[in-house]
Symmetry: C2
Subunit: 346 residues, 2 copies
């Protein structure tokens, strides 16, 4: 580590009124921190920037309250131990953790920024540990197999289908013998879904009337709806569910920008008429399934049976823009930020 | 049957704009119909009048469209075969079926007004077959045991707790070792729930702030919410669910008067944070459980361990008023109408 280096960090400057902007964050350069005894210094080459982060400046999400003004913005990344004064970590170890929006982090390994030592599958890119071989892949795997429980012939509809989680669900559902319909935000994404990932139909929600198009492409109804967006799309799907349908609640990207009062699905009572289930799940309650998920997903990638896309912005400076981009659905593939791109050694 | 008798019937005159009133129905007296070969004539002493009937003049509920103007109003009752020209039915047989709002009905036993021969438990009142030993009791039994699956110590909240279904759920949940909180519409109902049925707490939603009171009486959260009302009460319960909670959707009495766009529960995303399930069920998909339910519920009644209340209005003339009354929560106990009260022999 060069003594000239500094630690670029993004703090929360203000809470957005309405849509978030880069002005809600404040950039600072601070000295790279020194690890004390029992601590490590981690340099973070990649962060994943996904829409739920928006709630850190709003309702707080599962935390229930927003991050305080002036605090470091939340974010998950992967990095390398560059200085270790901790007996369980060695310099060079690859780790992932909730490093926040900064280039360097000091951790005691457990409490302050809990670190996970990655067991990288050497033949696959390390960045995959942030999505398909990380929480996103596990979410797709658990949400589909453990919660939705697909049967051959089921009609499966997935919103935010070209996203990190959605694109994996699309492919796994297709492999389970389901008819798969994706909802995404551009013709380019829709083409990727149908032509490259091989799903049966895709709807561009920015250009097409979702409720009407869903009726057209799902003439025999919906057996599984995997919801990543909430809002009127959730209602459109609920209107078409079949008996014994499973509605899996995973995300609500359309709602993260809103105030505390979300759009409530007015068609929820169709769950009664169709004896259907709407179920949420929290991926970190399924740690016991992670290894099974990653083993399976890695094998599928190696066999060329699972594709993923990454959308990488470069430099710590681009973090707020990456979040805005993701909330607007402008990214193509999992939104990552490469903090190393300014040329510092990682 | 006296030749002087006529058949009092209620037809749908108009669809309500907003709240329903007796003026939306039209009363007619017509000749008592004659059964043809293969048919029976049934005289109906009791009809049950429950809030979901409102949808017959609105969204149509599960049927998807309202009953046509001029048609007989829908309704379930129990009656006695007074003339039989059908080989499977004898005069005097007790039957139940969707007779509609009329004193006499002609049925072929299967297609036109499907009849079910009751096997009355002679020691219990026949009218009980319309609620605790009928669809209402089965709904409570299946909704609680098959869908909610109570565990000892669970906190169970029930809306419309003094109603036909709710009051049975309250008592069964208490017997399962749960802590039981009921929401009802009068102090009298709340007293009945806590003092006579023995549940732990009751909230009068017409006088108290439900969300706030729920927080007070459920300081450790809600494990099962059995919803009979929908609307803001459903949201108040969703705000307090515990991990792995089960939200059972049974009814939505607060919404039946509304237009086609119902109140959507804005707190639905708590199902994700709490890894919880919201599940609907349709009782007629559980015919295989009916005998188990009725055997159990009858045994509990005989042992004095299950109470129920009936609110009986007299005379065919009172049918529309009975529906309005039920929608306003003015009834105490299951709303029945005794069509025989004018003195005709049954």
């Amino acid at each position: 580590m060069s003594s000239k280096e500094s630690n670029g960090r993004w703090l929360i400057r203000s809470y957005p009124q309405g849509e978030i902007s880069v002005d809600n964050f404040e950039f600072r350069r601070e000295p790279v921190p020194e690890p004390a005894d029992g601590e490590v210094l981690v340099k973070t080459p990649h962060l994943i920037v996904s829409p739920p982060l928006r709630m850190a400046l709003g309702t707080g999400g599962i935390a229930g309250s927003p991050l305080p003004i002036g605090s470091l913005m939340r974010g998950t990344g992967q990095g390398r131990v560059v200085v270790s004064r901790h007996r369980d970590f060695r310099e060079g170890d690859y780790v992932s953790g909730p490093f926040g929006w900064q280039e360097y982090a000091v951790s005691d390994g457990v409490r302050r920024i809990p670190l996970k030592k990655e067991s990288p599958r050497g033949d696959l890119p390390l960045s995959a540990n942030l999505h398909v071989l990380g929480a996103g892949g596990a979410t797709a795997f658990v949400g589909l197999y453990d919660i939705a429980k697909p049967c051959i012939g089921d009609v499966v509809v997935i919103s935010a289908a070209a996203g990190n989680v959605g694109s994996i669900v699309c492919q796994l559902a297709r492999q389970s013998g389901c008819r798969v319909v994706g909802i995404a935000g551009s013709d380019e994404k829709c083409r990727w879904l149908t032509q490259d990932l091989g799903i049966d139909a895709a709807i561009n929600y920015k250009r097409e009337a979702v409720a009407e198009r869903l009726r057209e492409v799902c003439p025999s109804g919906i057996d599984i709806y995997f919801d990543n967006v909430g809002g009127e799309t959730l209602d459109a799907a609920l209107a078409l569910i079949n008996p014994a349908a499973r509605v899996v609640l995973c995300g609500a990207t359309s709602q993260y920008e809103g105030d505390a009062r979300w759009y409530g699905p007015r068609n929820y009572f169709n769950l009664v008429y169709k004896q259907a289930t709407m179920q949420g799940f929290y991926i970190f309650n399924f740690q016991h399934r992670f290894e099974a998920a990653f083993t399976r997903l890695a094998a599928l990638i190696r066999r060329g049976e699972l594709s993923y896309a990454e959308d990488v912005l470069n430099g710590v400076e681009s973090l707020p823009a990456a979040l805005v981009r993701g909330l607007n659905g402008e990214n193509f593939g999992t939104q990552l930020v490469n903090l190393d791109s300014a040329g510092a050694t990682a």
